[in-house]
């Protein structure tokens, strides 16, 4: 059985639910209490892949920044995947998302990038999809850290992409 370790960084603005997604995936838990992340928190989850590889996903939950360029570059360096999280209930977290994506792609080329709209449990899907279309947001997945919707699927997708 082979072992593999990959660094995955959660990035995005304040209060979009990065730490909640992190906690939902690692501990399968959720809390309504909002505590802003200072610096970074790191956790690990091992996923057993179909090809026999034991993939250690080292998750770096970074502090939120309105502009990704303000993030500490040393926390992002060496990442094998980025999860860019925005809040479906706050337009300000996705209206300029394409600028953030361009920054990530140009500064960290060849790094897998997933764009995630979180808090899907609190919105009217039809209305929010319309708004996302109006702002040209190309997302990969809509999740809810609160209910767990699509959270495990997101990380499994990333694990598959990283091991293929």
């Amino acid at each position: 059985m082979s072992k593999l370790s990959k660094k995955i960084a959660l990035v995005g603005p304040f209060g979009v639910g990065k730490s909640s997604l992190f906690r939902r995936f690692i501990d399968d838990a959720f809390s309504e209490d909002y505590k802003s992340t200072l610096g970074v928190q790191i956790q690990k989850k091992v996923i057993q892949m179909d090809n026999g590889t034991a993939l250690s996903m080292i998750l770096w939950d970074t502090e939120g920044h309105e502009e990704i360029s303000e993030s500490r570059s040393s926390y992002l360096l060496g990442s094998h995947a980025f999860i860019y999280v925005f809040d479906l209930t706050r337009i300000d977290t996705y209206k300029n998302i394409n600028d953030q994506i361009v920054f990530l792609k140009s500064n960290y080329p060849n790094v897998l990038l997933k764009i995630i709209g979180n808090k899907v449990d609190t919105v009217v899907l039809k209305r929010v999809k319309k708004s996302l279309k109006e702002h040209n947001v190309n997302y990969d997945c809509l999740t809810s850290a609160k209910t767990g919707e699509n959270v495990a699927e997101l990380f499994v997708d990333i694990a598959v992409d990283l091991t293929n």
Partner: protein, 271 residues
């Protein structure tokens, strides 16, 4: 009816009720007098009352007296610190004395062991050619530094490439240590923008974390004992030597082989 009889009748009507009251009062006074004059009777009446009062007083005493005593003690201690120190000194002194005696005994045992080793025939001949002072060497050897754990970590990602730990020393998840150490290292290096300088040591009471950076990875060694400059130099040379001879590109991609090579290289005492 004659006047006398009428007067008697009037007296009877007016004084009958008063007489009854007076008689009752006289009876009560007699009863009270009996109770007061006979201790047994008096005790029967008063004892339960005194008991209940005493019980209440005992129950309330801690609550009512505690603040008074505490503040009185505080004031007393503040006003007579010398007396307090004098009173406590023999007790604390005994404890400190006992602790120091124990530590000296341990040190003594270590030095004896070192002396025994130093004055063996083998060392006698060695010492003829030795430049260093034997005394300081014995003291240094009594708390000799040793590498307990060593990590090779990818610099950018913080991913653990290889690890060796002495059997008796194991810590939490190695991947998390590697990640957090990288985050701390990056944070310190970013925070003090001193231009390309690296975090070199972290001291944690009895342990020192020796950090040595290379281009793509860095080595972190957990050292116990006296981390002297001499030990630091030797450890640095050893790590440099390992990096030069022991690490190839293939090793970086094969964690198991790399870890076993690390074990072979660092399991022996460095000094």
């Amino acid at each position: 009816m004659e006047q006398n009889e009428r007067l008697k009748l009037l007296k009877k009507i007016l004084l009958t009720e008063e007489k009854e009251v007076t008689d009752s009062l006289i009876a009560d006074v007699e009863k009270l007098s009996n109770t007061l004059n006979q201790p047994h009777e008096l005790a029967q009446k008063i004892d339960p009352l005194i008991d209940s009062k005493i019980k209440k007083l005992v129950d309330d005493m801690p609550k009512k007296l505690s603040p008074v005593i505490t503040s009185a003690l505080k004031a007393e201690i503040k006003n007579s610190q010398d007396a307090v120190v004098e009173a406590l000194f023999p007790i604390i002194g005994k404890l400190i004395k006992k602790y120091i005696a124990h530590e000296i005994k341990l040190l003594n045992e270590q030095i004896n062991a070192q002396l025994k080793k130093a004055f063996s025939f083998k060392n006698f001949f060695k010492s003829i050619f030795r430049k260093k002072d034997m005394g300081s060497e014995i003291i240094a050897n009594s708390n000799q530094a040793s590498v307990l754990q060593i990590f090779v970590i990818e610099k950018a990602s913080g991913i653990l490439v290889a690890k060796y730990a002495k059997e008796e020393f194991d810590t939490m998840d190695d991947d998390l240590i590697a990640g957090m150490l990288t985050a701390i290292k990056s944070f310190v290096e970013d925070a003090f923008k001193m231009g390309g300088q690296n975090l070199e040591t972290i001291v944690y009471e009895l342990y020192t974390l020796h950090i040595q950076s290379f281009h793509n990875y860095y080595v972190a060694a957990v050292v116990s004992g006296t981390y002297t400059n001499e030990f630091k130099d030797i450890l640095e040379d050893k790590i440099l030597d390992f990096a030069e001879k022991g690490i190839s590109k293939e090793d970086i991609n094969n964690s198991e082989i790399f870890s076993s090579r690390l074990k072979t290289y660092f399991s022996e005492q460095i000094i």
